[in-house]
Assembly symmetry: C2
Homo-oligomer: 224 residues x 2
């Protein structure tokens, strides 16, 4: 109570900091990302303002409504983190598929599956936003289908050009993805202690996946 009053009066006591609109907007956006990641999209603008050390109406100077702010958060977090070159990494047949997958999931884990990303992603899904479905479409084209294609090549069966990709094969690609994803769900959403080394986990997950996926691909897809 006292601390709260201190903070308010601190902001009130004339030490207002005048930033350029660009800077202030970015500052609010960054603050909103970590704030909404922590407390959810229903977090209050007053508390966000307090964390930023500014007053609540200032947020409305830069974002007309709270929903506008949320949509800018989605934009900032979900588009722009995916690197198109990752698709090329997956399909680069000059290297063993195992190495490619391990390298990809190393990048993906560090650049995408952060505390902010995975929590906002879940909050958005539960809130019924369509961000998730759109992201999944992106993932299917840029990652899952390429992985299925590489699995077919590794299994030495017909390519997707000749025999269309099946639902079960897409699920096979989801399978390794799910293992990595769930690792971060446990870490950042359930907040369980995971003492396991990330790189060891990824290598192991890829090893387990690849074995089974190639076997099943062989069984289910006719030879090329």
């Amino acid at each position: 109570m006292v601390a709260l009053k201190e903070k308010q009066s601190k902001a009130a006591a004339g030490n207002r900091q005048r930033l350029s609109p660009g800077e202030r907007e970015q500052q609010i956006l960054d603050g909103a990302i970590s704030f909404f990641a922590e407390v959810g999209l229903s977090g209050q603008t007053r508390e966000l303002a307090q964390r930023l050390g500014v007053t609540q109406p200032l947020i409305y100077r830069y974002f007309p409504t709270k929903q506008d702010l949320i949509e800018r958060v989605f934009e900032e977090v979900f588009v722009g983190r995916w690197r198109p070159e990752w698709t090329g990494l997956i399909t680069d047949r000059s290297r063993p598929l195992r190495d490619r997958l391990i390298e990809f999931y190393g990048h993906y884990s560090r650049d995408v599956l952060t505390y902010e990303w995975i929590r906002i992603y879940m909050f958005a899904g539960l809130a019924g936003e369509d961000i998730n479905r759109r992201y999944i479409d992106l993932l299917e084209d840029g990652l899952l289908v390429p992985i299925v294609t590489e699995l077919r090549a590794a299994a030495e069966v017909a390519s997707p050009d000749d025999v269309p990709v099946t639902g079960l094969e897409i699920e096979a690609a989801w399978h390794i993805h799910a293992a990595v994803f769930y690792y971060f769900v446990r870490k950042h959403i359930y907040q369980t202690k995971i003492e396991l080394d990330l790189d060891a986990f990824i290598a192991d997950a890829v090893d387990r996946t690849l074995e089974g996926a190639i076997t099943v691909t062989k069984r289910e897809v006719p030879a090329g």
Copy 2:
């Protein structure tokens, strides 16, 4: 607006229905489960009351605070759905491990991983409740360690009595679990259309997992 007024006046217009305390409590609890599953734990008691066709203060007659209601929801949904006999199903070596896993995940998918369960589970995790960690503890003892034990038997290596279970092995067990879990996350949280048959998916997931898991177990655990 009109429909809302109708509903309110319907409850208001003297047609009050007097239930026994037990019935009413259960009705509120059931309504709260599907309500909170849909809109989250921050859903408002007024809207819940409206869905139940009662007034909002009535809820407070049966549950002193909203948090009490939420905790009863957790109790109802998370404890009691786990069947202790499932552990026995996993460890029943009179049948192939593949069959046991497929049967278990059939039950688990239908009895536990429902719309209500998985959404409330995620909402709870994001809200920082400790339900998830407690549930995971239960799952490790009743499911993951037994699966690791059976994988060891299938791989014909040392049993956990001689060589302790490693973190990577627990992750291997998480791996199939993650595949099934993530299937329902996509279905009930992202709400993507999944045209894939559940049983086919489970059988396939088990097949892919088992292959890799046994191979990796053989590689990492000394022979018995």
